[in-house]
Structures are given as structure tokens and as C-alpha cells.
Amino acid sequence: MTDITPPVAAPETVLLPVHDDGETALQPCQPGFVHVMRLRTAMLLIGPVVGAVLIDQLVLKPKGLPSGFLTVAAPLLFLLFVAIAPQRRFLRIGHALLPDRLRAVDGYLFHRDTLVPFARVQHIDVTRGPLERMFGVASLVVHTAGTHNSIVTLPGLSPGDADAMRETIRHHIRADPA
């Protein structure tokens, strides 16, 4: 029986020949996308931050409860997420069109590196929201049939690149991947 075989020790070496997936030159995203990220985060956080400061000043302070901490911490966190984090994430966003697959890399603290073979792509969207339009960028959204990770987004492309990539990938899509 196969299932009761004792497992081998944790391997100390790489098990398979290393491939250059990790070394392919990545195309960075457009600098304009930093502003998009900033504004998105700012719009998301401005409400809670103002709320926290108001609670601190109008509820905790008059009641004599320990106050002041939220008034300092909330705007500091806001600055961290709006001023610093987008720049760091921007440096980690990249994509590469390999001969037969698409590579999408994103994230600073939570780093994600996705490969999608062209032949597995079901359909492709190029999306441009109001913010993206304002800063001259577009997103390429690739859908696969998978029930997990089925949507892969490449943010911060120039609209021309996004359209060109869509055309490139479209030519690789098979009629019926089933």
C-alpha cells in the first residue's frame, strides 16, 4: 500500500532544474498607476480615519477615557498606507509576455507571482475605471476556467500596451479549451 510509506526527509536541495521564470525581465507598470493606488487607498481609508479621530475627540475625551492615541495613530497609518505603501508596491508590480504564457507579479508584503498559459485563457478584458483614465493607465484582466485563481489582473498598463497584449493573447486562445 502506498499511503503508509514513511516520508523522506525534507530535501536540502532544489528538486528540479531551476528555470528562468524567476529571472525573466519584468515589464514595470506605468508610473501613473502609483497615483491610482494612492487615491484608491485614500478613498477607502479616509472615512475610517476621520471616524477614529472624531470618536477620539468627541466621545473618549469628554468622558475622561484615555484619549489622544487614536488621533495620532490613525492619521499616521493613513500616511503609511497612502504615501509609502503604494510606492513600494509599485516597485513590485510587473508582467512579462513569455512565448506561450503570461506572467503577472504583484505585491510587496503579500507577494504573488502568477503564470497563465495562453492556451488556458477563456476570455480577456481591458478595463479602465475613472481613476485609471485620469492617469492614463488601463488593466488587463485574464479569465481562466479555474474555480480558484480564475481571474488574473495586470494593473497599470498603458492603454496601448493593454490592447496590444489582448490581441497577442487572443491569437493564442483555442476555440474550445475543453
Binding site: 499511503d3 516520508p7 506561450d100 503579500f110 507577494h111 503564470l115 497563465v116 495562453f118 474555480t147
Partner: protein, 498 residues
Amino acid sequence: MSDTDAALAHSEPQKLHPLTLVMALVRVAPRMVGAIPALVGIGVTAGGQYVVPAIAVIAIASLIGSWLHWARFTFQIADDEIRIDSGVLSRTHRAIPFDRIQDVAIERSPLARVLGMARVKIETGAAGAGDGEEGVLDALTLADAEALRDRVRQYRSGVALPTGDNAAVTAPADDPVVYTMSVRRVLTAGLFNFSLGIFAVLFGLFQTFDDVLPFDPFAKDFWIGLLASDNRLVQIIAAHQWIAAVAGAISLLFLGIATGVIRSVIRDYGFTLTRTATGLRRQRGLTTRSDVLLPLAKVRAAKVETGPVRRRLGFYAVQFESLARDEHKQADHVIAPLATDGEANDLLALAAMQRPDASTAWHRVHPALMAGYAFVACLPVIGGLTAVSFGQPLGWIGVAIAPLFLLAGWIGWRRTAWTWDGRQLAVRSGAWRQDLRLLPASSIESADVFIGPLARRFAIATLTLGVAGGSGHSIAALREADARALRHALLSASGAAA
């Protein structure tokens, strides 16, 4: 064309069978239960003489609703698609191409079996379709239902198997049986289907009918009153609390096993799996007999599961994953609830998969996986110590849980391993309930290497593979270099490479 086609050779839109209305009639009765509070309200406020007319009004309204639904529901079997028009006020026109049909399930409730009817469920497996009820025909005669299924099957076989093995398609009786469960096997499977779910049901019932029942088994007085008739017994139990504990545990065990056996018999009685031209056909069930078709070309992955006792007896549960969902909204199709080693291997071979043999070199995941567990284990310790510092000695329980949790995690880690043979990825996990997942490279839609803040410290990564169906495939705590190399190997072998 075959005889079965003749039964359904309608190109015009047709209605569901009129007997559907009879079935709706019977279904009115359970629906009346929901109206009981309203009826009681009428009886109390307006007087008892209005209750019977109220019942009649509700029943008639309900029947008119059923009739309208039936009258406005038409379906049409075209050459390559099914069209369903439904809706009384807002109309829905739906077209389901045979090409997109993953599964045609035939379900028969006890009433439907008496009337010779069947409910047909057409699944297209659209990933975002929520309930998975894209097309339900409730109800057709059994002959029509089977003809419809054969029609779809025949169409699909024409697509999938250009050689055209139509003889096997039109004569389902000749399909070879690849797995079947004797009554004895069903009962054995039931023993491993231990469940205490019955208590949730009982508890819910007692909550609902709190005021209806003349007694409340969750009140202390109920038991004291019950036992007061024999004071000696009460004294003995009070003196030896362990008697009550042991008796309670034994009755729990017995109830759990009995529930499992009953559920297994109801669900799996007469479990038969046949090999058709395009896939597998599964029939099972005691009261509601279900008939499900699973095209083998749509099978993406397999799961082989076993528990501590089953493993010693050499029994395994086999499931196939595809985009279509099984009955009861299960993601995976149960192919064999309880199969021997050999049977499991034969079934997996049907979908071109095999379990790694004894000589396989398994690769364990990185021990840094334990760092994540340790992080989680800190939470009860912190919570427990906080409680202790506030004078609550029960907080020590939280502190005691942490090492047990870590021990369980470590045992699980020792068992978690993967192996890749150039064609198929096998991942095993779980020390107590052991899972083996088989994933052919050709099923992989996308591959994702994820590194979180903690994983970065140890240079490890989680490899997640996108698969059309199933409940997700990922391996946590691979060395980052291994994750990338394995990903490259998997995608290169997936058949999607240029």
C-alpha cells in the same frame, strides 16, 4: 436513430408532464405547515369558523400558482441545445447548448417513483452560477428523462469520440458495471460515516417547538423529575458521576454510528457505477434514486481519502473533481464511498490517473510550516494568560491547548508531502484522515506562487494551481526555488505550452 429518440423527437416547445400538477397537489400539504401561525392567528382573532375557509383559500391559491407555473413553462429539445421558457410574470428564455452541458442528473423522489416521473437537472457548471440550477425540468416521465439524457450523451459522444461507438450509447443496459456496492458494503461504509449531526437537528427541533412540547429535555427539572421515581438510582448516579459520563459517551457513540449507517443506506443503497461511451454513470439511493452522468473528459482531478480504521481494513473513498457539482452541492463527485485498494486503482485508471506506488520518493514540505502554526498557537496562549491575570483559572485551558495544537500540526506536517512524476502531481496530507489528491498536469489552468510576510523570512512559498472544478489545489511551505521549478515543470507538461 434509436427508439429513445422517438420518445422525445419534438421540435416544438412542450410542457412538463401533466402529472407534475398531481405532484404539486401533494406538495401543498407540507407547505400548509408554514401557514399554521397565520391560521392560529385567524382562529384567535376572527373566530374558529374562518379557519377551514382560510385553509381552502391558501390551498387553492397554491394550486393556482402551481398551475400557472406549469402552464407558462415550456421546453424544447433542438438538435444541439435545450431551450427553456419559464416565468409567470417575468419571463426567462434560456438556451443551454449541449456542448456546455456537464451533467444530466435524474432524481426521483418516492412520490415520483410511484407516478413513474423523474426530475431532470441539467448542469452547465458555469463557475459563477451560484446554485448550480441552470436548468431543471420537474417533472418528466422517466422514459422522456432518460431519452433526454441519452440525447445529450449521444451528442457529446459524437463530439468527444469521433469513432462513434453509438451501439453502446443507445443501449445503456450493456454498459459494463465498474463498481457496485453490496448491502453489506453499504452498511460497512455507514460504520465509517459516524455523525453527531442528529444532535444539531434535535436541538433545533426542541428550540423551535419549545412551547409546543409538554416537556423540555434541556431543563434540569425534566431529568430530576424523571429520575425522582427511583431515588436510589439518583443517589448512585450522584455518587459516581463517571457512570453517567461513561453511559453518556457510549450512547453518543451508538447514536453517531446509527446515524451514519442510516444516512449511508439512504444515500448509497444500490450504488452502481457503469462505464458509458463517454464517461461514468452513477445510480444510487434508497428513497430518492439519483442518476448522474459524469463525462470522463471533464474529470480534472481525483481525491482518495481514508481514515485510521478504514486504512487498516484496506478501504478508500474515491472522488472525482470536475466543473459540474455533485448532488447536495458537493464540489466533488463521489465515485466510490468505500473501495478496496484494487477497486480504487481501477477507478482512477478510468480517468488516466494512478496512485504513486510504494517506491515513490515523496518530498516533504518545509518545516517552516510550523512557524505559521506557532503564530496561530500564540493566540489562545495570550488569551488564556490574559484571563488568568484577571483571576480566571480557566484561562490555563488556553495555555494547555497550544502545545496540543502544535503537536497535531507537527504530526500533520510529517505526513504532508508531494511527488511529481512528469505527468501527474500527487499531494498527500492528514495523519488521521488521510487525503491523497491526484492532479494531472493537463488540468492546470494557471499557477500562482504566493509569498506572505512570514513565508519570506523562511524563503518558502505557497504554490496554488488553478483547476476547473474541485475545492482548490495548493501546496504550502515549498522552498521558493522548488515552488518555481515545480510550477515550471507542471506548466511545461500541461500541454498548453507552445
